[in-house]
Amino acid sequence: MITVTHLTKRYGDTNAVNDVSFTVKPGTVAGFLGPNGAGKSTTLRAILGLTPPTSGGATVLGVPYAQLPNPASRVGSLLDADALHPGRSGRENLALAALAQGVGRTRIAEVLDLVGLTDKEARKRVGTYSLGMKQRLGIAMALLGDPSVLILDEPANGLDPAGIVWMRDLLRNAASRGCTVLLSSHLLHEVEQVADQLIIIGAGRILADGSPADVLGSTGRLEDTYLRLTATTSREGLAS
């Protein structure tokens, strides 16, 4: 369960996130959508305790992330696949995370296998990885502790079509087993197929929050609804 309550984050004199509130219940895949600069990443970082909010807050599994014991094993997250030391191997990154979380070594081979990284690739330095490989490693790291919550920022970024389908199955499977999944994405067609809840944000404010039926209404098409709602807040909208 993820609960965000009146979250506000101010930079200088603008509110990157402005009084944002929503709840994602267990067993739900929530798609977090919005134009670039709308405040998606800031919100996700605030949930994970990486960015201190100006006011308001967020809880995961009932408490703020920073107060969870061994938080990464309960809440798997992938915010930026590039945020890894280029001189360290993929396998070593997993080993460090496994050591910190107290997860057994066999799990490392399991998650590598799951995301489709070979042992040979895992032993290479992350600096040599393609975007897709870094993304897979990031997903592997998020899944390492067998978490019951997943918070992912554009998880399908860099994945090939087979990978995108696999990601979709992974998320649906996780939710059907009771996990709480919050993902931000720009792939509207993908989100349409996988999300039980749509949260649309624009210029720091929540523009829509509910089941696809509620949000899309009679038109039924996510792309139309999304573009209409965010028209005044996206670059294209502001330019016209």
Binding site: R45, G49, T51, N70, G87, G104, E110, L114, L117, L143
Partner: protein, 279 residues
Amino acid sequence: MTTTADHSLHAPSDTFGSSPRTAAHASSAAPTVALGRLVAVEARKLVDTRAGRWLLIATFALATLTTALLAYGSAEFAPGKPLLASELANTAIGSLTVLLPVLAIMLAASEWTQQGALVTFTLEPRRLRVLAAKVCALVAAALVSCVVAAGLSLAVAGVASGIGHQRVDWRLDAAVLVWSAAATLLATLQGFAFGALLMNTPAAIVVYFVTPMLLQAVSAIGSKVADALSWLNTSSAMAPIAQGAWNDVHWGKVAVSIGVWVVLPLIAGSVRLVRREVK
């Protein structure tokens, strides 16, 4: 890099096991992140990157080289005198002050320069705990390095004795070696403090090496300035104590230097760390 054309992606159901999620945490992970494990993680970070490994190799290569040069010089220019193993060990330990602080800076700052912070602070959100773990790992690494360096110097002495047929005086002056190790440890901690404060590896390296040079240059202005600045010079303050001059003023100077170069930057760095956004 090659694309993932023939990667077999296993069915996602494999990862979550066969039993449905319950409210209780079902995985095999430990209940909390113990400090001991955090220290192990940070110690591992000293050696698990390409840069770190090469730096350590260079550090011990330098220790061996300086010792070998000393042994050779002693044989060439003072052939009658025996080789003093204690002097060799002291030189080896002292040579660590050149590169170990760089390793310390990297441990402190590469989370920010090389972007590991996102992973590090989602694994352990209590950032001061991570900082403390880094310090512990570094202290252990510095002490182990001193022992290794001393060992290397004794190996060099052994080679000089065996192959070079040099006479070797194997007596080790414990007090001198301990003070050398203390000086090395202090230099390493100072490097770490600079890295923690500046949160930028190259900047901290530059500041760490340039600062003593600047102080030297400023001291040359006059004796009064030099006297004032002597309160900020850790190594010159420690030297008389190492030789047995137990003067209060000397201890005072050591305390002030450590305060200014290690404690203050560490405190300021801790404040920055707790407040900083991780992007």
